[in-house]
């Protein structure tokens, strides 16, 4: 292995990649912004296509994933108590505000609504939604809201 030659060639290939990337960006994905702020990444089509029910003012509950599971098993959310949420949703112990859920208990309307602060977990959210529906939970929504909006929502909903 000739390391000096390898480094020179790697530099050349890197420059070629920069040129190709710039050309691809210009011609194939001109609408994709390189300065896209992470906060805007929640605006994904898959998320936007989901229904966004309003948060009932009196029942929204702060949830991290483990609290979610405990809460689901507490009896307050009987219809979804058996849902193995823990195996499906990402839980970051450093940011328990990531998930906030809402169980709507009104007979046939029982369902689960999860808000994610961004679309980071939307694939998992889809899986969760599919699982809930497979279990007969017909009203299950997963949607995303901007992180700052979610923070405001959480601040409003937390019990004093």
């Amino acid at each position: 292995m000739r390391w000096q030659q390898a480094l020179r060639e790697a530099l050349f290939l890197g420059l070629a990649a920069v040129a190709l990337g710039a050309a691809a960006h210009r011609w194939l994905a001109p609408s994709f912004s390189l300065s896209l702020a992470p906060a805007r990444l929640h605006d994904l089509p898959v998320i936007q296509s989901l229904p966004r029910p309003q948060v009932p003012a009196d029942t929204a509950v702060y949830l991290g994933l483990r609290p979610t599971l405990a809460w689901l098993q507490s009896g307050r959310a009987r219809a979804v108590a058996a849902v193995p949420v823990q195996g499906l949703a990402y839980w970051n112990p450093d940011s328990p505000e990531t998930w906030v859920g809402q169980v709507l208990q009104s007979g046939a309307d029982t369902g689960l609504w999860i808000l994610a602060d961004t679309a980071l977990f939307y694939r998992r959210a889809w899986r969760l939604q599919r699982l809930l529906r497979s279990l007969g939970i017909t009203r299950a929504w997963v949607t995303a809201v901007p992180a700052d909006s979610l923070a405001r929502l959480l601040a409003q909903r937390r019990t004093p």
């Binding site: 390898a6 790697a10 530099l11 190709l20 990337g21 939307y122």
Partner: protein, 134 residues
């Protein structure tokens, strides 16, 4: 015989990178989303990686397949596979179960331990090519 084996390995890795890059190149938005799910990079880096990493994969893949700038291409291939390995390993350790994003919209594999093992093999293969190839 040994040289033929290394050449076959070189072509295999080249085709893998080429296909992965070509599938991701036209859709940086999707790749950016997949990168975000790894929780590995600062948000501001994501769009740049989403645009230029697939381009690098394409360039390196072509160089490996056609054996141009082969020392540089092998070095990049090793660095790329090392990066992929770290990304998937940290995701598996942290319990982040997301699609690997390796092939853009065609990605089906998840960041689980099986994927870590697979990436370990690719990393070893690229290491063999880098350190043992002529």
């Amino acid at each position: 015989m040994r040289e033929k084996g290394l050449r076959a390995l070189e072509i295999l890795l080249g085709v893998l990178l080429l296909v992965a890059g070509l599938l991701k190149l036209p859709n940086p938005q999707l790749f950016a989303d997949q990168l975000l799910a790894y929780h590995l990079f600062p948000g501001a880096w994501i769009p740049w990686i989403a645009v230029f990493l697939p381009a690098l994969e394409v360039v390196v893949g072509l160089a490996l397949v056609f054996r141009r700038f082969r020392f540089g291409a092998r070095l990049w291939a090793f660095l790329l596979f090392a990066g992929f390995w770290v990304a998937v390993l940290q995701a598996a350790v942290r319990g982040i179960d997301t699609t690997c994003g390796c092939f853009g919209a065609a990605s089906w594999e998840h960041t689980d331990w099986r994927k870590v093992l697979e990436n370990t093999l690719w990393l070893l293969a690229s290491g063999v090519l880098l350190f043992k190839g002529r």
